[in-house]
């Protein structure tokens, strides 16, 4: 029995919902529109939503500035690198916690989560000094390590909630059929675990890409990713709005697209499985 939904009501709700959604999205939209304007029309008064003199010159110019591609590349290396390293360390841990849980497993998971609550500023000073001493300051390796450790609890938690949903009976059935441990892992578990690993990877690349504390405090120029670059991009009194917008759009676009693909997993990932 369906609820009585009149077409008029549907249209009213549709208009209301779309207005609110567009309002929330508007700053991003405005940034993208501004990135295609000339600098003059970007600060035109009154402001123009659309402009007659569309241009892609801002993108070309930002990209041609010799340093932009380097920041971009640093972002890619740091976010993907820290995620892959984190997965290598976390998969065995999550695996054994999900399939061979002990009495302390729950406490261990809670403890891991509690390390996320350690304020970054409290560990920043030693890390800053140690990194400078051993030559990891302003290197991609250093940031990969720092971001990997920062996100490790989330990676373990996400993988754990995914692995826990793989029914243990399947393993027993495979074992009874005489599958070796290796075959069990390769043919039974891996295919079932891949979607969970993929969404964990996606979400953590996003988190690492957008990280802005460690990237600002542990780099100067050489290893600085986009988050540090944009943070220091001072637009001198509106002269570079269009270029700032183009640089910003390029900085967020890859992640926006990845994010849209992973929005379903985002909920369970960031709530540590509490909301699905």
């Amino acid at each position: 029995m369906a609820r009585a939904v009149t077409p008029a009501r549907t249209w009213m709700m549709t208009i209301a919902a779309w207005s609110v959604a567009l309002l929330i999205f508007f700053p991003v939209l405005w940034m993208i529109l501004t990135s295609f304007k000339t600098e003059a029309s970007a600060v035109a008064s009154p402001p123009q939503l659309f402009t007659a003199d569309w241009t892609t010159a801002n993108y070309a110019e930002v990209w041609a500035r010799s340093d932009y591609p380097r920041f971009f590349w640093n972002s890619v290396v740091i976010s993907v690198g820290s995620t892959l390293l984190g997965l290598i360390i976390a998969i065995p841990a999550a695996w054994s916690m999900a399939f061979v849980p002990g009495r302390k497993t729950k406490d261990l998971l809670m403890w891991m989560l509690s390390t996320k609550m350690m304020p970054a500023v409290a560990v920043m000073i030693p890390l800053y000094l140690v990194f400078q001493r051993i030559g990891l300051f302003d290197t991609k390796t250093g940031l990969v390590l720092a971001l990997m450790l920062m996100n490790l609890p989330i990676i373990v938690w996400m993988l754990y909630t995914y692995f826990k949903e793989i029914p243990g009976e399947i393993l027993e059935a495979a074992r009874m059929d005489g599958a070796s441990l290796w075959n069990e892992v390769l043919y039974v578990l891996t295919p079932m675990a891949v979607p969970g690993i993929a969404s964990t990877m996606l979400l953590n690349i996003i988190l690492a890409w957008n990280e802005a504390f460690w990237t600002i405090t542990l780099t100067t120029t050489k290893a600085a990713p986009l988050s540090a670059f944009i943070a220091s991009f001072s637009a001198p009194q509106g002269l570079f709005y269009a270029k700032l917008s183009a640089a910003s759009t390029m900085a967020i676009l890859p992640i926006l697209i990845l994010g849209w693909f992973s929005q379903k997993q985002l909920v369970r990932g960031l709530t540590f499985g509490a909301v699905k």
């Binding site: 939904v5 709700m13 209301a16 065995p92 399939f99 802005a212 988050s227």
Partner: protein, 290 residues
């Protein structure tokens, strides 16, 4: 059921994560604690020594310390209130039978994927800028003076920016919870003549309680450490009007290069986080199915 050897293997598989996290937590913390009792300025490296609680008393006596504490809590509290209330409303709206719901979700979630420096920089330059910002243009359109957001209202402006970033997170989680509510219950209540408000008050809201708790818990973890937004927009100013505890410590370490004082601030931040975490873990433990 599991054998002795598989238990040993399991421990071996967990070990790297546990050891790494333990070292990552305990070594820097021990060092921070050590530095917090030392005179240690990068600009005068030859003058060192134990200074007792001097670094701590400096912090407690610093004129901007209590302001920074208030700002930190105002940021967390303000963003939580805004995102939870608006999140519930937006989630309820999107959950209605509307056209193009999938696209709506895509639009609403977008701000969450915008990295903090970009979010801050868009708001600072394209919207809040007193000459060229969109808000200034709107104010002038009404013949009013542009509001100097970041100069006169730095904390509310930062709270607004951060709330914009986190509203999608709250909305998405609350929407997910809302969609797991069976519509039969609502239909039954509607047929029994329950008003829209009492349906919300007695059916929808209790159903969402768990999701709301989770939103509050998770957001708090991230909000206590908010840094990039302040660094990009106000740099903690004007004066120290928008300085939070993390930013104050950052200034001591990176700008003033006084490691001892910054470390003392770090320990204060740990204590603050522990107080918050104590309440968080009590709530989160009940809500996570570990």
């Amino acid at each position: 059921m599991s054998t002795q050897s598989s238990r040993a293997a399991a421990r071996l598989m967990v070990a790297p994560s546990v050891i790494l996290l333990f070292v990552w937590m305990i070594v820097p913390l021990a060092m921070t604690l050590y530095f917090s009792f030392r005179l240690y300025r990068l600009l005068s490296p030859d003058r060192t020594g134990w200074v007792g609680f001097n670094n701590y008393t400096w912090f407690f006596r610093a004129p901007d310390f209590w302001l920074a504490m208030v700002n930190t809590l105002a940021l967390v509290g303000g963003v939580l209130i805004i995102t939870v209330i608006l999140g519930v409303l937006v989630a309820l709206l999107i959950d209605q039978p509307v056209k193009g719901q999938g696209y709506l979700r895509i639009l609403v979630i977008a701000p969450f994927f915008v990295m903090p420096p970009v979010a801050a920089s868009i708001w600072e330059n394209l919207f809040m800028h007193p000459q060229n910002g969109l808000f200034a243009a709107i104010a002038q359109g009404f013949g009013a003076q542009p509001i100097l957001f970041l100069e006169n209202y730095p904390m509310p402006s930062v709270i607004g920016i951060v709330a914009w970033e986190w509203l999608p997170f709250a909305t998405l989680i609350l929407l997910t919870a809302l969609q797991s509510l069976s519509s039969e219950q609502l239909e039954a209540a509607e047929m029994d003549g329950a008003s829209a408000f009492s349906r919300f008050r007695y059916i929808i809201l209790p159903h969402m309680t768990r999701a709301i708790t989770v939103v509050i818990l998770i957001e708090t973890i991230f909000l206590l450490g908010i840094f990039g937004e302040i660094y990009t927009t106000t740099q903690g100013g004007p004066g120290s009007a928008s300085t939070t505890l993390p930013y104050m410590i950052f200034k001591q370490a990176i700008v003033a290069k006084d490691i001892g004082r910054a470390a003392a601030g770090g320990i204060i931040a740990v204590i603050l986080a522990n107080i918050v975490a104590y309440f968080l873990m009590r709530g989160i433990g009940r809500n996570l199915d570990a």
